[in-house]
Symmetry: C2
Subunit: 284 residues, 2 copies
Amino acid sequence: MIQVETIQELRSIVKRWKRENKTVGFVPTMGYLHEGHRSLMETAKKETDHVIVSIFVNPLQFGPNEDYEKYPRNLQHDFQLAASVSADVLFTPTVSEMYPVPIQTSVEVKGITDVMCGASRPGHFSGVATVVTKLFQITQADRAYFGQKDFQQVAVIKTMVRDLNIPIEIIPCPIVRESDGLALSSRNVYLSSEERQQALSLNKSLQLAQRMAGAGERDASTIRAAVLKQIQEQPLARIDYVEIRDPETFQSLTALTGTGLLALAVRFGNTRLIDNCLLEAPPL
Amino acid sequence: MIQVETIQELRSIVKRWKRENKTVGFVPTMGYLHEGHRSLMETAKKETDHVIVSIFVNPLQFGPNEDYEKYPRNLQHDFQLAASVSADVLFTPTVSEMYPVPIQTSVEVKGITDVMCGASRPGHFSGVATVVTKLFQITQADRAYFGQKDFQQVAVIKTMVRDLNIPIEIIPCPIVRESDGLALSSRNVYLSSEERQQALSLNKSLQLAQRMAGAGERDASTIRAAVLKQIQEQPLARIDYVEIRDPETFQSLTALTGTGLLALAVRFGNTRLIDNCLLEAPPL
């Protein structure tokens, strides 16, 4: 695996691959890689001829009071992890390589960005859509791999790719969890042991909701109330949102008929965690 | 030359070209082709291996009270003109081919779109940037050709391509004029003979401004006043804007030091015409 820092060098590598008629898989990340990222890279490796992993903590998608400055970084560890799954290129552009002049252009996705993380983090999805468009143009990848933990992000990117006719296939991959159920996130490193223990309530409450739906509970507010109660029992938890929505349109659901998305964002101390699952109503 | 109506068919043609290591030139148009378009196609033909000409009257870039419905169309004539310069593909997608579902994504360019045509036509450049991004993704062209009559449009597209790292080169081409000086535009067909006669004042006023600048006049408001006077002498002219700006930043200029952009938009009846030229201050 080689590390590439410039757009120009990456383009020349990809050009060579394309001339050889090879397919390119792409795993965009903000680094501090974990087993969730590993599963994306492994899937990319299986499905494409060459794999590019990017590490770029994108200032555009952080709000003014968010954790851009202290977002965890560990390039040496990331290099080893990406090399261990035989990625071909680790692309690590600097901020000035990605934004050599103040950027005047943005990619905006309407509708599905008005709710959930879009409502909690104004400008976040604009920053994500813009940088992902840039990375797709730079890598010219055939397929890109994203974790379903960021369910809304995947929906935003799929919408953008469809609307702008970007010639890439978006592959959503399952959430990877610790053995005790905590969804993997680079931000988990921020948690104190007490916060981490209480954060297990997130996955537990998702499981509770799935059991309720499986047992035939179709009232979204009843399920939501049970989830809220379970999380609110943790003294350190501050709920940002807990919502049950249509997984395609992101319209709020009052009744579970087919598949619903249960998504939540909860703070423990200064750390904001997100998690989600699909709820399947059993046939009537 | 073949006519292609679907994105899928165009993609498969371009894929074949790329495998053969051929370069692709692209001339995006709204049809009703004239000699200005012909010059773009001829330049494209000289500089690239294969040329795609698109005809698409993009509803996204027209305001609610603009001329989308009555924009002139003549596919038979357009086919003949594009074939006469040996374009390879005439791409004529329908609106539902380009927008199969209501589009949720837009490409926004800030700063340079706040003035001139951006101020007169809210949403116009967003519609242009979005459809051009789509067309660039579909055609995967190496070079795209635009007329300088739409000076601000070219600047918007160059900014967008730079900011989003779209792998395409934007080639601005000179304005083509009738022998009496009227800048070619598909919208000229709307003009009555009286309006067309009075519209000659646009190019005449640009020439006057160039003579003033060449003679050492550096005060932008003096030059602008002379342009306004010449146009206002035409009883049918209603001025939308006449502005002298920096051709890169589009900041308003009070004094001409290096190169200035003189740009104007004027209505004759219901027809809005634009024109522009660069003003060069002689060395001090």
